[in-house]
Symmetry: C2
Subunit: 366 residues, 2 copies
Amino acid sequence: MSLDASKLTITKTTNSKTPLPKEQLVFGKTFTDHMLEVEWTAENGWGAPKISPYHALSLDPASSVFHYSFELFEGMKAYRDTHGKIRTFRPDKNMARMNRSAKRAALPQFEGDELLKCIDELLKVDEKFIPEGYGYSLYLRPTLIGTTSSLGVAKPDRALLFVIASPVGPYFSGGFKPVSLQATDYAVRAWPGGVGEYKLGANYVSCIEPQSVAATKGHSQNLWLFGEEGYITEVGAMNFFIVFQKDGKKELVTSPLDGTILPGVTRDSTLALAKARLDSSWEVNERKITIHEVQERAAKGEVVEAFGTGTAAIVSPISNIEFHGADIAIPVVGGTAGELTQQIEKWIREIQYGDVEFEDWSRVIV
Amino acid sequence: MSLDASKLTITKTTNSKTPLPKEQLVFGKTFTDHMLEVEWTAENGWGAPKISPYHALSLDPASSVFHYSFELFEGMKAYRDTHGKIRTFRPDKNMARMNRSAKRAALPQFEGDELLKCIDELLKVDEKFIPEGYGYSLYLRPTLIGTTSSLGVAKPDRALLFVIASPVGPYFSGGFKPVSLQATDYAVRAWPGGVGEYKLGANYVSCIEPQSVAATKGHSQNLWLFGEEGYITEVGAMNFFIVFQKDGKKELVTSPLDGTILPGVTRDSTLALAKARLDSSWEVNERKITIHEVQERAAKGEVVEAFGTGTAAIVSPISNIEFHGADIAIPVVGGTAGELTQQIEKWIREIQYGDVEFEDWSRVIV
């Protein structure tokens, strides 16, 4: 059976929570009244989707998700626009990526359009948890886990797709706060032929210990390097962008999708908007960047600004990169964020909140 | 609080199962009556260990184990010796490795000796599930998962260590069956600076899809290659051994622990026994081996035999390696397994079942 939104059943809670005051929201800490679940078996395919009160999962301790990391997820958000409507942002991109992740993780693929219809219904049922105002949103976490109760290392024959939702406030609550990074080469996030381009849980566990090391030196995140050349791949769990300038020309650069880079929705949106809207003094390039290029061009004054992109923050300005003990100062020309960093944030935000339409990026829930 | 076996509580089932007949045992499919659990919090450290009836785990869907792969495990076995005593095999090695895995995965470390005492008690409580006879054993699966209910990507502040146990029969039920491998270079299991040397769930999920590809061509497992040189790293989820001979000298080789190789207990035992017991016509080496060396020396008749090592099978003889479409035939001189392959299996089995003592490798549960 394919995943079929028309089979959705909804059981509402009899014990509804009061949404937290907006200023108390912490990313991913509190959740809405309900959750969405769809079970899958190799025998029968996808079962009927169900929305029911948020509840603990009861799983056999031999379930494959606990042992062999059969797990993948997406991060996306629902926004309340100025007319009170609920919108999601390019959710088709999340569905497509989730299916690519599922294939690589030997978990079942599904009809993304149908899951989006179910998510729409979850948003309607939990509507009161979608906070109003720029920077506020309901973070959605579609997750797919293998639930076969067997220790054999094999493709799961049972799986559970679930979606939980957490009301969140602005990533930078008091305005932008530029971050300091530690350029990391002793630990490596991803490798050609590995799974770095898929949103698997497996890509995250290995990044925590190096992040603790960076934190002891006062850095917020790792800037993940790759290879002897010192290629820049990602920043923490975000994609990396940098602006160079030389002889009056500016270049916006991000690392190409070579298999080691997560194809971020915000990365893609940043590239598309920059290409569509920046004037002819700009070049927008996906190309390899090394830490050495950044170091040398920063010394020559050719680095304008740098930022990370991701669903949580949209953009995260970068002010410093420590590489092998030496600090590379990154200008923050616009005060707490570079000018383009601020521009990109505004462009994306306006589309997310429905103030501006751009292609079919904003999905209105009706 | 540290992990303290003296705080162990035991609640026995009131509904004990009858152990399956030995011929019906399937690896990791059925479990004993009880399980061992120890909870950890950042605030209070390790709680009191408890043995209680085998039961489902109830976990918040936001638990970090489902999202960021905070999970690691060990595989070890308990054996019934000819005097009816229960023995485990080098369990201190598993505890040490589990602690190394925990550190790398930003999960809490623990007192291995204390956990072993608790495991001894689990074995006594579930004694009737330890099958008798060579090749039969009780497979033990210590597992550690992060249970923080938050989507923030951070070191878990809650964790659960649990041990479940599954009665198992011989890996090769009708005697050895040599396997055919596909040498795999389009997908990469592990890399320098990654986590391949730790027993994290994250290392397993990425191997299933390539294994399916190998299976469609009739191969049992992948032979994982690394780098342009074609270094052989592991075979499926086992360590790789090969025997070369030239001018009357024999060489037993396995890949060195360079960070991409799991430091297998059976690997270590194989090396130690080979060094202690093989005569002077042998060399025992940990050195890099490439698929090209295997291909060239097989063509010259210099390959004697090859096998994988792991807790599940002890040894798994290899009869064929497909590399870029060409088959490399590996001799199986002893019929269904090479002579050294059979010798190693016997040496390790005799120690596991207490027929022969070697150093302090066999732990008798009293």
